[in-house]
Each structure stands twice: as structure tokens, then as C-alpha cells.
């Protein structure tokens, strides 16, 4: 941490200080409660955007580019327009279309200029472009697209970032990048320096260099992207499958030049979403087109991608790296120079050294290329490059020193260049316990998988089955604090006194809405059963966008703030005389003569602190409402409160310092058996030890650990988008050929929860949603190396393993 960084802290103080929970015990938080959405989802009653049917709706399909880099030279849509059942055809040259529009749901993407709504050119095979059709059925819309006559100008393409950046390489996007295929990285400079790398290398006692690469993995959600657009006169009404519905609402309002208050957005359940389509530059394209076609036809327009179209949503990590590391013989890393070549994204790859190590001397270079692969955006978490680089450095250094990587981790653990011991005082002053999070995680994880008995030097353990045994470990801080804002309301039902949380549907991750109810219940003093998260469908009260990066850490504060305000209001109302014109109806103010501070709420009952026998239920407090005649007239005023939270992001290498150092850590361990005859890798165990600060919902934490383990193994074991080298066409855009692993491929999964309360969320909690799926992959990477003694690029498919073992020659 730079000396003046601490003066730059601008975040609310409660996100910087340790959280002091006001109650002595938890009745809902931290308990294994019945999921609020469990029955709905398990029974099939839960409604997703795909389920919505609107009377009279049309079906929209958009042409996809058959080439990786092509321009429409000429087009004739006559036959498509004449096909019975076709109601409207929209072409790239339609006069209503602006030259470019902001179609992203994640504004301000560097290197992603505003896009044409329907581009005349396609820059990857599968890009939606050129023509859109609205027809009576999806089949007719598909047929109509086949009837469009197009003269294509197919152009040279490039799939590889290193090749694309070579002098004389064909232009991959001549319209937007006429001067070359160079792309600036996202959110940071091409070259970033931190500390004094030259000095660090001079201090090093050993230096190693290595290269590594990852091929593109992609995003495919259970629910294919979809939406419905209907104009109710001059008011748009939209059903979205979208992680950022509030931003989507803004984009639609801007595009159609209406006020946001004129737009109604419904956001039903969406299950896992994992980034991807909802954030990439073009993601609002189908919704905008549906809006145009709906207006022209006067009918609702529905769109939904096919699974193959969905595959071109967003991918990640088509990147190569060259890394140089300097270190001392005791394992202390003194300098790092890491260079990347990437396609279409280029998020930072050395942030983690700043955020959770003592390594202070860093050079990060990023060489971005526009390639003709589908667009890059954070899927399953943008920290993947950071995790890969960080874990690779730690494990390569451990290999060079013949050191147990868990020991190397503890030697290098730190924070913004400081050893953890150096910031003990900082923690103490702000009320944190001085716990060693990484040490606790490593200790628990090693014990669970019997690491000390099993660990060996790379390539040294052959099992009786003939397989090679390997153990790998990777660690990181958690990074749920990427910042965001949330607004949530809570309303008390007028007749029975139960509480209803008002927030946009927040269905992402496991038990998210349940966790919010747990917080609300404890903060209000209600029974958990008396609090429900029933979505307030309009995107007005927008919790931290359900994008799974920072949900609980931000929304948890918002709901806690709302609940505290509401509880205060309840106590005030309970102690005030009721104003009524009909005292003869027998209404007796419940706590007349008491002050709010004399009262409290537990088990959904208001009571006098000094005499708990004086109590009434919430239902008795609020009384029935809206009756006429000689009925109860003792109702309270409406009981409602809102809360919000505006949270700063964490430190990264090129941005401003975050509000506070990150103390919380996680350690992941993977055990594999590699078959030297087939190159097959069997994962036999994944052990996750996550310090989550405070597990608000333990089922959610474990769910993230299970899901993240499978996803994490999958993305480096077998997942890879395969492009035809000769044509640039995606070959495996389906769930058979794109190899997503299942539980059976991950062996035993351990879920260890460590709680140090050193997080920035309520009760000292931190997020876990993205972490496991991003750190586990590189424990796998290390485990494969530990098994065979060779580093294998990712995904570590059998062809690569056999090649590393010298059993297969280079492809001709």
C-alpha cells in the first residue's frame, strides 16, 4: 500500500471497519434454512423468461454470419418478405437504424465501440448481423432468412492473437480498426509497472522464465438468451433474461428515446448466468431489434437464440503468456515481468500479486489483438487471467525450489506489498481480529485431503494402477468487492404483519434471495418464515445487479440498512398513540407511554424489553386495513423502509486503491490421477477451504463450492471452443462436442468454511460466487504437473498430455 493510500479511502466507514453485529445471537443468519425458491424451482413452478407467452406474439430471428470475417456485398430480401407468415424484415440499410448505438449492458467497454444495430459486416462466425425477420412462427422466420439472397465478400481472418499482431497480418476488422489489429486492454494500460522490477530482479537469487497458454472457453447457460418486447401504445414493456436488467432498461429507454419511467421491465428467474451474453457489447441487439419490429408490426416480438447461436455469446482467455520471475532461495518472490497476448479482452493478469502477496515489483505488459473469434467478455469471472498467472508463478517457483507450494504460499502471502504481520495494527485499529486467513485455509484444506502424507515432488509417484498421482494447490484472496450499488425496500403487509422484501428478481447463485431474507429476519427481529423475497419486477429497486460478482457483499448492506430503518419505524409506531376518529371501536394503543427504545422485536413480536410478557404480534400491531363501516379502524400507517449501499471496488494494479486491504483468503487443492497410456486425467478430489468471513447461508457457500469445483475443473480439463483452422467456423457449438464436465468428473468435493469475520460485507462476510470456479482451475494445472512432471497448457486434453509425455509427435 502506498503511504498516502489510506488517506484516499472514501468508502463508507462501515465497509472499512469490522462489523459489529448488534444482536447476541443469530436466529436466521448462518442457519440452514428452507430455501425460499426451493419448492418453486424443484417443482417446475418457477417462471423463467423462456416460459413467457404473450398472445399474438411474433418470433424473431437474426441472420448469423457464416464467415469469420465478411461483408455483405449485395442483398435481396424480396423472397423472404414474400414468404407467408413473415410480418416484417429489418435490414442493415434500414433508414430507421442509427449508424451506431450503445448495445451493451455493461457500458463503457474499452475497445468495444458502439455497434451498428445490424452490421453489414460480420467479425466472427456466428455474429448476429445483416437481416432480422419477425414471423408468425420461429420456423417461418428461419425459412425466411434462408430465402435472403446475399452476395458475401469473405475476407481473410485470423484466430490467433500472436499471428494477428504480426506486421502485415490481414485486418480482422477493417471498418473499426483500419490501422491494424491492435486492441487496448480493458481497464488498464498496455504496460503497467508497480514498484521497481529491475531492482527486484537484481535482488533475486534465482530467475526462471516460462510460457503458457489457454484456449477459449465459453459461456452457455441453462437457459438460452431470450426476450419479449411489446409496445403498449407509447410504453415499452419488456421481458428480459438479463443479469443487468436495470442497465438494460436504461439502454432501451435511450435507444427508443423514451423516459425510463415509461419502460416496464420484467425480469423473471434466470438461474445461473455466469456473465457472458448479458455483458458483452452486442447483448442488447436482439432486444432493440425486437422493439423496432414490435413497433412496426403492432405485435409483441419474442426472440430466443438457438444453442449454437448462444455459443457465440462470449468467451474468455484465448491468451498466451510469457513470464519471468525472480525469487530468493527461501521462496520469497522479488520481481515479476508478465506479458500476455490476448484476443478481444485483456483483463489484468497481475492484480493478484498486488492484492494478496508481498510481491511489489511488477511489470505487466498486455498485447491485445482483434481476432475473428467471438467476442471476449468475463464469463464465470474476470479474474481468471489473474488466477492463472498468479498460480502459475507460485507453482513454477515451488517447482524450481523443490518446495511444497503450501509453504511457498505462506512465505509470499501479503497485502499490497506488505507482509501480513505488517498490517496487523491496521486491522486491530478497525476492530478486526488479527487472524491469518491463508494459514487457516491451508491448514484446514491440507488436513482434509491428507496433504502432508500424500504430497511428493513432481512426477515421482506412480500408483499400483500405473497411473501417475498428482496434488496441486492454488490460493487467492477473495474478490467479491468489485464494487456496486444496491437499493432494496422492505414493506410490512397491512393485515398480518409479515415482511416482504422489494427488489428486482435477484436469482443468481445459490440461495441469494434466501440469504437476503435471513438478514432481514434477524435485523427486524422477525421469524425467518415471516419474511419473503417476492420480486418487485420493475427494475426500480435494483439490488446489486444480479451478476454474481458482489451480490451479498453489497445487497447484504442494503437490506440490513433497510431492515434497521424499518425496525426503528416499527418501534416508533408501536409506541405512538393511534389517531382515530372512532375510539369507541375499542382500539387500545399497544405501548402507549413507552418510548421506542423501551421496545424490541423478536420472533415477529413487539415487546417491552423490561417486561417481555407485554408483547403483541406484528399482525396485532399493524391491524387490518382498508375495511369500511363498523370494522377495525386502528391500522397503522404503511410500514415501509428502503436501504441502499454504494460500495467501492478493490485495489487493482492500475486503478486507484480500494477502500481497504483484503485480508480474507481461500486455498484450493486438487488431486488427480493421470493415465500415461491415454493421457486421460481423472480428478479424484477437490478440496475447497474458503474464508467467507461469515457464512450468512451455509448452504449457499457449499453450493458455490460444489458448483465452482465442477466448473473450475471443467474449464481447464476439457472445455475449449474449437474453430476450424481452415474456415474459422466454430465446430463444437453444442453441449455434446463442447465438453462441460459433470459431478462424476470431479471426484470427491470437500467444502470447508472458514469464518474470520474480516470481510467487508455485513457480519464480516465476503463473496464466494466467482472465486472457486476461478482458483480451482489452476490447482488442477498444478496437480497435473505434480503428476507427470511436465507443464501442460490448458485445457489439458489427452492430446496435450500425451505430447508432454513424449508419446505423440507434433501435429504436422
Amino acid at each position: 500500500m502506498k503511504k498516502d493510500d489510506r488517506e484516499r479511502i472514501v468508502a463508507p466507514e462501515h465497509t472499512v471497519r469490522a462489523d459489529k453485529y448488534p444482536l447476541d445471537d443469530y436466529t436466521a443468519v448462518g442457519k440452514r434454512v428452507r430455501r425460499k425458491d426451493g419448492y418453486e424451482k424443484a417443482s417446475g413452478y418457477a417462471v423463467y423468461a423462456s416460459d413467457i407467452q404473450i398472445p399474438g406474439m411474433l418470433h424473431q430471428k437474426i441472420l448469423t454470419c457464416p464467415y469469420p470475417n465478411a461483408r455483405i456485398a449485395a442483398i435481396d430480401t424480396t423472397r423472404a418478405e414474400a414468404l407467408p407468415g413473415v410480418r416484417a424484415v429489418l435490414r442493415y440499410d434500414d433508414p430507421e437504424l442509427p449508424p451506431k448505438a450503445d448495445l451493451s449492458g455493461h457500458f463503457g467497454q474499452a475497445g468495444q465501440p458502439h455497434e451498428p444495430v445490424l452490421d453489414r459486416c460480420g467479425y466472427w462466425q456466428g455474429m448476429p448481423m445483416g437481416v432480422a425477420v419477425a414471423a408468425d412462427t420461429e420456423e417461418i422466420a428461419r425459412e425466411a432468412l434462408k430465402l435472403v439472397r446475399i452476395e458475401w465478400e469473405a475476407r481473410p481472418f485470423n484466430l490467433d492473437p500472436v499471428e494477428a499482431l504480426k506486421a502485415g497480418a490481414p485486418l480482422t476488422n477493417p471498418e473499426s480498426y483500419p490501422d491494424g489489429n491492435f486492441l487496448l486492454p480493458f481497464m488498464h494500460e498496455k504496460k503497467v509497472t508497480h514498484g521497481d522490477a529491475d531492482k527486484g530482479f537484481r535482488e533475486a537469487e534465482q530467475t526462471i522464465e516460462f510460457g503458457m497458454r489457454r484456449d477459449q472457453d465459453t459461456w452457455v447457460g441453462p437457459e438460452r438468451p431470450c426476450g419479449i418486447f411489446r409496445w403498449n401504445g407509447e410504453y415499452p414493456e419488456v421481458w428480459l433474461k438479463h443479469q443487468r436488467p436495470h442497465l438494460a432498461k436504461r439502454q432501451l429507454a435511450q435507444f427508443f428515446k423514451v423516459g425510463m419511467s415509461q419502460v416496464t421491465v420484467h425480469c423473471p428467474y434466470q438461474g445461473g448466468s455466469f456473465g457472458g451474453w448479458s455483458q458483452m457489447a452486442l447483448n442488447m441487439q436482439p432486444n432493440v431489434i425486437a422493439g423496432i419490429l414490435s413497433k412496426r408490426t403492432g405485435r409483441p416480438v419474442r426472440w430466443q437464440f438457438s444453442r449454437r447461436e448462444d455459443f457465440c455469446g462470449a468467451g474468455m482467455d484465448n491468451a498466451r503468456y510469457r513470464v519471468k520471475v525472480g525469487f530468493k532461495n527461501n521462496g520469497e518472490i522479488t520481481a515479476l515481468h508478465a506479458t500476455s497476448w490476448f484476443s478481444r479482452e485483456g483483463l489484468s493478469h497481475t492484480d493478484h500479486f498486488v492484492e494478496n502477496s508481498k510481491v511489489i515489483n511488477i511489470i505487466q505488459e498486455s498485447n491485445g489483438a482483434i481476432c475473428n473469434i467471438f467476442t471476449g467478455w468475463a464469463i464465470r469471472c474476470e479474474q481468471n487471467m489473474n488466477c492463472y498467472c498468479f498460480s502459475a508463478v507460485m507453482n513454477h517457483v515451488a517447482e524450481a525450489l523443490k518446495m511444497d507450494p503450501t509453504e511457498l504460499a505462506l512465505i509470499n502471502d501479503g497485502c499490497e506489498g506488505h507482509a501480513m504481520a505488517d498490517i496487523a495494527e491496521w486491522k486491530r485499529k478497525r476492530g478486526f481480529e488479527d487472524r491469518d486467513s491463508l494459514r487457516e485455509c491451508i491448514k484446514a484444506g491440507k488436513k482434509a485431503m491428507d496433504w502432508d502424507a500424500k504430497w511428493h515432488l513432481p512426477g515421482m509417484k506412480k500408483l499400483p494402477s500405473g497411473r501417475m498421482h498428482g496434488l496441486g494447490m492454488s490460493w487467492a484472496h477473495e474478490w467479491g468487492d468489485s464494487g456496486g450499488s444496491a437499493a432494496i425496500g422492505i414493506r410490512i403487509e397491512r393485515d398480518d404483519g409479515t415482511a416482504r422484501v422489494l427488489g428486482l428478481r435477484c436469482d443468481n447463485g445459490v440461495c441469494a434471495e434466501t440469504a437476503y431474507c435471513q438478514i432481514a429476519a434477524d435485523e427486524l427481529g422477525f421469524r425467518y418464515e415471516d419474511v419473503e423475497y417476492r420480486p418487485f419486477e420493475e427494475a426500480g429497486f435494483a439490488p446489486m445487479t444480479p451478476d454474481s460478482s458482489t451480490n451479498l457483499a453489497v445487497n447484504g448492506w442494503a437490506i440490513r440498512n433497510a431492515a434497521r430503518r424499518l425496525k426503528q419505524k416499527i418501534l416508533e409506531v408501536a409506541s405512538l398513540p393511534r389517531v382515530t376518529e372512532r375510539p369507541e371501536m375499542g382500539y387500545i394503543p399497544p405501548f402507549e407511554g413507552y418510548r421506542p427504545e423501551d421496545l424490541d422485536v423478536r420472533e415477529s413480536r413487539v415487546f417491552v424489553k423490561k417486561d417481555p410478557s407485554k408483547s403483541i404480534s406484528m399482525a396485532e400491531l399493524v391491524r387490518p386495513a382498508f375495511f369500511m363501516g363498523k370494522m377495525d379502524v386502528g391500522s397503522t400507517e404503511p410500514l415501509f423502509a428502503w436501504g441502499w449501499q454504494n460500495q467501492q471496488g478493490a485495489y487493482d494494479i492500475s486503478g486507484p486503491p480500494g477502500p481497504r486491504p483484503i485480508f480474507v483468503r481461500q486455498a484450493h487443492f486438487v488431486e488427480v490421477e493421470v493415465d500415461p497410456e491415454t493421457g486421460g486425467i481423472e480428478v479424484t478430489r477437490v478440496t475447497n477451504a474458503n474464508d467467507v468471513g461469515k457464512a450468512v447461508n451455509p448452504d449457499a457457500v457449499e453450493g458455490q463450492q460444489y458448483g465452482g469445483s465442477v466448473m473450475g475443473v471443467s474449464r481447464v480439463r476439457t472445455e475449449e471452443v474449437v474453430y476450424c483452422p481452415a474456415t474459422g467456423v466454430v465446430l463444437n457449438g453444442n453441449l455434446i462436442d463442447y465438453k462441460i464436465n459433470t459431478m462424476l468428473d470431479c471426484g470427491l468435493i470437500d467444502t470447508i468454511i472458514v469464518e474470520t469475520a474480516m470481510g467487508y460485507g455485513p457480519y464480516g462476510s465476503v463473496g464466494i460466487g466467482e472465486d472457486v470456479a476461478s482458483v480451482v482451475p489452476f490447482a488442477f494445472y498444478a496437480a497435473v504437473h505434480n503428476a507427470i512432471g511436465k507443464w501442460v497448457d490448458l485445457p489439458a486434453t489427452p492430446d496435450k498430455v500425451l505430447k508432454a509425455l513424449g508419446k505423440v509427435q507434433e501435429a504436422k
Binding site: E677, Y723, A726, I736, I740, P798, Q809
Partner: protein, 322 residues
């Protein structure tokens, strides 16, 4: 998916008659796990006008042992074969092959007849909207030759010297190794003659011909099936292998070994069979047999890795017969 006609056949004769009525514009459907997916994914440029449903034909769903001969009706579901104790004991390779096919859900739908008649999985052929008008779609070339052929043939192309797509079935090599006879509405064919690849087909079946039953002779000895795939829950094989071995005094007296997913049709490894005859099933014996199995391999640009895997599969199938 487009609308299509649907004929519920009450007898095989009715089904054949319907097929003749539609010429080559109809397709037979049983479990439908391959056909419907292919239609939904727009794999083919043109779609059948009608599906002839044979699930409605009684008497084609059975597993019987008579005099040691195993007879299986064409409509028998893969899961029923996989879990049948008699098959597991008598013709273990077939039970295991059925068990390793697809996923539980698909095995509950898919039939043995459909499994041996399924189409190829080549990702050029299955790319939608005729993006690759390959040999099988009436085009002039196989795109895998210059493309990504990591899952294609390591033993050369088809009889037309073009298509390098492999046969994806798990049960097919077991049937070849177990010397099954496949009975159709026209004839009885030995399994190894059934999978003859032509430009548009993976079997010798005529357009109006339907598989009705499969018979496996008594097995003297042991059989085994092994499969290498990337995922456990569901996957087509990268390589699989079935072996049926007769032993006499610890030496191999008879051997039938069949690899699949390595060639355009199930690849009977005759040289591997010859190499193991007269030898014991031990490390040296299976090693030489496996080496013989892949001696003639001619991998393409991206699939040389399949050769050591094929070798390992032969070894393990033989060891499974020990």
C-alpha cells in the same frame, strides 16, 4: 423444427410399406435420440417429410437366451440390455457397451437398433445450415482433411476415399467382436458386414429396410468392452474396444477384437487377433497384440494422440477377458 408427417406402424410390413411410399423422404424413428436432435439442429439440408414410428410395433422389445444364443429385439432399450443379468454374465462386452452409451436418460430412450443405425458425429457434417457441404451431403470434399480432425479416422477414409468421419457407436464393436447376426426385414447380415460406409450411409441398409433383431451366438470364453471418453456421465468415445476371447490351457484359442471411433466403420483388428492367438493374456501378449492393432494407423494432422489410446484400449479389452 419443421412440421412433418408421422406414421404409427402396427407391423414391420406396414413400416416398410410406408417407407416405400415416401421413397427416401422418410426416416424410421424408434427412441429418436439421434434423429430428433439431428432435425432440431438443422444438420441436414433437407428433412424427412415423414417419420415412420416403429415403437408401435409389438414383439420387437425382448431379450432371450435360447440354447446359449442371445436374441435381442431391435426395439430393446439400451438400459434394459445394460442391466440384464443374463447379458452381463453371458455377453459381458455388450452389456458393458450398452451401459457406457450416452447417459441414463438417453439409454432409457434409445434402442439397440437405433444405436447401430445412428449417424456419424463429424462436426463438419453436423454443422447446421449446410455450412460444410461435405461428401455426405452431396458436396465434393471432406472438410476434416484440412480442418480440425481430432476426432476423425486414424485408419484412412471411406470406400469413396473421402469421408474420414468415424462410426460413433459403443455397441457396434461389441456386436462385431461377439460375431452377432443382424436380422432385417430383408435378410440376415453378420455384424461386421453390416457397417459398410457409403457416401450417405453408415450401414448397408436399403431405404426400405429395417433392423428387427440381433442374435449373438453362445460365447465360449470371455468378452470385455472398454471405452475412453472425456466425460463419464455422457460422451461419445474417443476410442472404444471390444474383445471376445476363447482360452484353452491359459492360451488364447480364438480372438475377435474390434475397435470403434477410429475408422469410418467398426475396425476389426485382425492383426491384433492373430498376434494374440496362442499366447497368454499377460503384459507381453497384450502389448504385442495392441501394437499390431495400431501398426497400420495413418493419423491425420490433429489425431495422432488417438493411436496410443487405441493401443491402450486393445490392451485393456484383452486384459478384461483374462
Amino acid at each position: 423444427m419443421k412440421n412433418f408427417g408421422h406414421v404409427n406402424a402396427a407391423t414391420l410390413e406396414e413400416a416398410v410399406s410406408a417407407l416405400r411410399r415416401y421413397g427416401n423422404r422418410a426416416a424410421v424413428i424408434a427412441g429418436g435420440t439421434d434423429l430428433l436432435g439431428k432435425m432440431k439442429d438443422e444438420v441436414l439440408p433437407a428433412y424427412p417429410e415423414a417419420l415412420i414410428n416403429i415403437k408401435t410395433i409389438p414383439g420387437l422389445d425382448f431379450i432371450r437366451y435360447e440354447g446359449g444364443t442371445l436374441s435381442i429385439g431391435a426395439l430393446t432399450r439400451l438400459e434394459d440390455i445394460a442391466t440384464n443379468d443374463a447379458v452381463r454374465n453371458g455377453h459381458a462386452a455388450l452389456a458393458e457397451a450398452a451401459h457406457r452409451t450416452a447417459s441414463t436418460h438417453l439409454r432409457e430412450m434409445g434402442t439397440i437398433g437405433g444405436n447401430i443405425c445412428q449417424d456419424i458425429r463429424c462436426w463438419y457434417y453436423r454443422n447446421p445450415q449446410n455450412r460444410f457441404p461435405c461428401l455426405r451431403k452431396g458436396g465434393g470434399r471432406c472438410y476434416a482433411i484440412d480442418g480440425d480432425n481430432r476426432y476423425h479416422s486414424i485408419f484412412g477414409g471411406s470406400v469413396e476415399k473421402g469421408c474420414y468421419a468415424v462410426h460413433p457407436s459403443d455397441t457396434a464393436p461389441a456386436l462385431v467382436a461377439l460375431d452377432a447376426t443382424i436380422t432385417t426385414t430383408r435378410r440376415a447380415i453378420r455384424a461386421e458386414d453390416f457397417f459398410q460406409v457409403s457416401a450417405a450411409k453408415t450401414t448397408v441398409l436399403e431405404d426400405d429396410e429395417i433392423v428387427s433383431r440381433i442374435d449373438l451366438p453362445p460365447l465360449v470364453g470371455k468378452s470385455a468392452f472398454v471405452k475412453f471418453a472425456l466425460r463419464k456421465a455422457i460422451d461419445f468415445p474417443i476410442v472404444n474396444c471390444a474383445a471376445a476371447i476363447g482360452l484353452s490351457r491359459g492360451k488364447v484359442r480364438s480372438a475377435r477384437i474390434c475397435l470403434n471411433a477410429v475408422h469410418v466403420k467398426p475396425y476389426r483388428a485382425v492383426k491384433a487377433e492373430e498376434a494374440i492367438i496362442g499366447k497368454a493374456i499377460d503384459e507381453a501378449g497384450v502389448e504385442s497384440s495392441a501394437a499390431a492393432a495400431v501398426a497400420g494407423a495413418k493419423p491425420m494432422s490433429h489425431n495422432a494422440y488417438m493411436v496410443p489410446i487405441a493401443k491402450a484400449m486393445v490392451k485393456r479389452a484383452l486384459l478384461g477377458c483374462k
